[in-house]
């Protein structure tokens, strides 16, 4: 799938994107495929599938725990790619992005990773501890688009440089810190998102910290969509294990509504 074209078309149609993050293997490996389908049914425009890692230094307690639980259940990159491939066969219209740490990819080997990610139909790859300067270390034929990150303290010159990478979008880390829900997002977040969009020239999706649908309008007005990680993991953690897909759909619905209100022509 051409992720750039897919995202631009959606944005052009006025849609604000909803991008849930799911840690592969959480809460257990057999739940991942049904959860991906539930997220697709619940209105996800794209899905970030997380690869569990032993030392997730960009993650807060909720996703650390999810990662650990998935690892203990035997999840790894290889199996995550297999699940992604099966999901793409079932739901080719919803792009899957892989999110993981550099060492998982390096351990698989860059040629093998690129080939397998390509075969699985992965649309993009996000690696928080691999800044663009180090992308050449994993570039190989077939590798899906790499996605850069920006943070509130990223200087304008850097935003411009990230924009020149011409990637399908820019992942805006809304807060200084690690993943995890924040009760209140600072008033400076929308200003940062606008700055990121203006100076990179790329579509911007905002992640880290989003906890509740009420936070969505202020963010979504300043960017092209939101990413939900820890909040989804929390919802799954407290859900009835017999109906995780139902819990995932119910969790997404109010976020989808909030985004659609912002995206609607009247706004």
């Amino acid at each position: 799938m051409d992720l750039s074209a897919y995202i631009s078309e959606r944005i052009a149609s006025g849609r604000k994107l909803l991008a849930p993050y799911l840690c592969s293997g959480f809460p257990d490996p057999s739940a991942t495929l049904p959860l991906l389908e539930a997220l697709a049914d619940g209105g996800a425009d794209l899905i970030e599938l997380g690869v569990p890692f032993s030392d997730p230094l960009a993650d807060g307690p909720v996703l650390q725990a999810a990662s650990l639980r998935a690892l203990r259940a035997g999840m790894n990159l290889e199996k995550t790619l297999e699940i992604a491939a099966e999901f793409q066969r079932r739901r080719p219209e919803v792009p899957v992005l892989l999110m993981g740490y550099a060492n998982s990819v390096l351990a698989m080997g860059r040629e093998r990773f690129a080939e397998k990610a390509h075969e699985a139909g992965i649309a993009g790859v996000l690696i928080p501890d691999l800044p663009p300067e180090n992308w050449p270390l994993i570039q190989a034929p077939g590798l899906p688009s790499l996605i850069p990150f920006a943070a509130p303290n990223t200087p304008i010159s850097r935003l411009e440089a990230l924009g020149k990478l011409s990637t399908p979008f820019l992942y805006a880390v809304s807060v200084l810190g690690v993943t995890g829900t924040r009760d209140a997002l600072s008033n400076e977040v929308p200003a940062f998102l606008s700055r990121a969009r203006r100076h990179s020239g790329l579509p911007v999706l905002a992640g880290f910290g989003v906890a509740r649908p009420e936070q969505v309008p202020a963010l979504a007005r300043a960017c092209d969509g939101v990413i939900l990680g820890s909040a989804l993991a929390k919802a799954l953690d407290s859900a009835d294990p017999k109906d995780l897909p139902g819990a995932a759909r119910a969790f997404l619905a109010p976020f989808r509504d909030a985004l659609d209100v912002v995206g609607a022509p009247c706004c």
């Binding site: 032993s54 990159l77 200084l176």
Partner: protein
């Protein structure tokens, strides 16, 4: 003698060959750029050099002596010179680095410093340095290590530092480092991350090496004075690798000086319980740098095991990775039992109780008695062993288990 030195490596982006670099979230890029610029300016600034030198002399009583260990020398059949880093204030070489970084933190206008610590030696050195300059200090320490190292926890607290338990993962040094990085990402604007070894993203490995390089420069000069020649071999233990890099740096350009780094083999390199990262690890990315790591085939980081908390780390500084591949330094290992034996032996023979970490380097020398090259053997005695007495007593049930001297005589 200058306090800081000039060398070609690392490259502008912080690479030693393929190792090092910066593998960090984007949020830390501005902070690392700021640190790099501040360090570059400081190292060329005579007032920084003067302040650092003054701290080294008056706060931690440098130069530390080079001690000819006569009875040990007789035992191993070679002149052994001990670089007495154990005589530093707070009991280990760690303070050389914390003094350098704390002065830099103050220059940069940071009001809070954070550190990671395993056994607590780096935490104690950071707490002392921060108290001296009146900076707020918080130390991340694994919950498991807090339990094992109560005395150092109390020392840190006494000097005004707050110890924050790291509850994630294995609750040891690796996890304390993860927590310190997470703390830094969150509080990057007012916080200085004071890393305790030659690890982490650029510029930490080069900066910490430069601050520790005083060990080798003093040793070189002292050896020439005491023995009339350079050492034939220089030996140091390797955890993250800061005392070893500090010792080796002055001798890298002396091809006749053999360099040996000794890692912790724990219960043995043929078991799953060791910390021999360079001996058995594979290159990968952890804590912001590319280097050798203990990892499984999926790239998950494995737990390290050593009797010595300071060597109990599944990574190692990137410059060591480079020096291993280039062959300039030989990396060997010593087991828990060998280290315990060396710990008892030096205490009994020389009246010096070495840190468990340093005991590994000595253990390698003992194992190679009779096969050592002719000429002085330089050993970095990185720290004193008082901190290890609890663990020693626990292991040996209050009786010497090894009869060390007898074993070797």
């Amino acid at each position: 003698m200058p306090v800081l030195s000039e060398t070609a490596l690392p490259s502008a982006l912080g690479y030693f060959g393929p190792y090092g670099g910066r593998f960090v979230p984007e949020t830390l890029k501005p902070a690392l750029d700021e640190l790099e610029a501040a360090y570059e300016a400081a190292r060329r600034d005579p007032t920084f050099e003067a302040e650092f030198r003054e701290a080294l002399v008056t706060f931690t009583c440098r130069p530390t002596p080079l001690y000819p260990a006569r009875r040990l020398s007789e035992l191993v059949g070679a002149t052994v010179l001990l670089k007495r880093e154990d005589l530093n204030h707070t009991g280990a070489h760690k303070i050389n680095n914390t003094l350098g970084q704390i002065i830099l933190a103050k220059r940069m206008g940071k009001t809070r410093v954070i550190a990671e610590t395993g056994a607590g030696q780096h935490g104690v050195a950071t707490a002392a340095a921060a108290a001296r300059l009146g900076l707020r200090c918080e130390v991340h320490m694994g919950e498991e290590d807090i339990r094992r190292q109560q005395l150092n926890v109390r020392r840190m607290e006494l000097m005004g530092a707050k110890v924050i338990p790291a509850k994630s993962g294995t609750r040891t040094l690796k996890d304390a480092t993860n927590e310190a990085i997470r703390d830094w990402v969150t509080n990057v604007e007012d916080t200085f991350y004071l890393i305790g070894s030659v690890v982490g993203p650029h510029p930490y490995p080069v900066m910490v090496r430069d601050f520790q390089a005083i060990i080798g420069r003093e040793s070189r000069e002292q050896c020439l004075k005491v023995a009339g020649c350079l050492p034939s071999i220089a030996v140091a233990c390797v955890g993250g690798g800061s005392n070893a890099m500090g010792l080796f740096h002055a001798f890298i350009g002396d091809p006749d000086v053999q360099l040996v780094g000794v890692e912790a083999a724990g219960r043995g390199v043929d078991t799953a319980f060791h910390a021999a990262t360079l001996t058995l690890g594979k290159p990968g990315v952890l804590h912001g740098a590319m280097s050798y790591l203990l990892q499984d085939r999926d790239g998950q980081i494995q737990e390290a095991h050593s009797i010595s908390a300071g060597l109990d780390y599944p990574g190692v500084g990137p410059e060591h990775a480079f020096l291993k591949d280039s062959g300039r330094v030989r990396y060997e290992s010593a087991t828990d039992d060998e280290a315990l034996c060396a710990f008892e032996l030096l205490s009994e023979l020389e009246g010096i109780i070495p840190a468990f970490e340093s005991s590994h380097a000595l253990a390698w020398i003992l194992r190679n008695a009779g096969r050592l090259p002719a000429g002085p053997v330089l050993l970095c005695l990185s720290g004193r062993g008082d901190k290890d007495l609890d663990e020693y007593l626990l292991r040996t049930q209050k009786e010497k288990s090894h009869g060390p001297v007898g074993l070797y005589l």
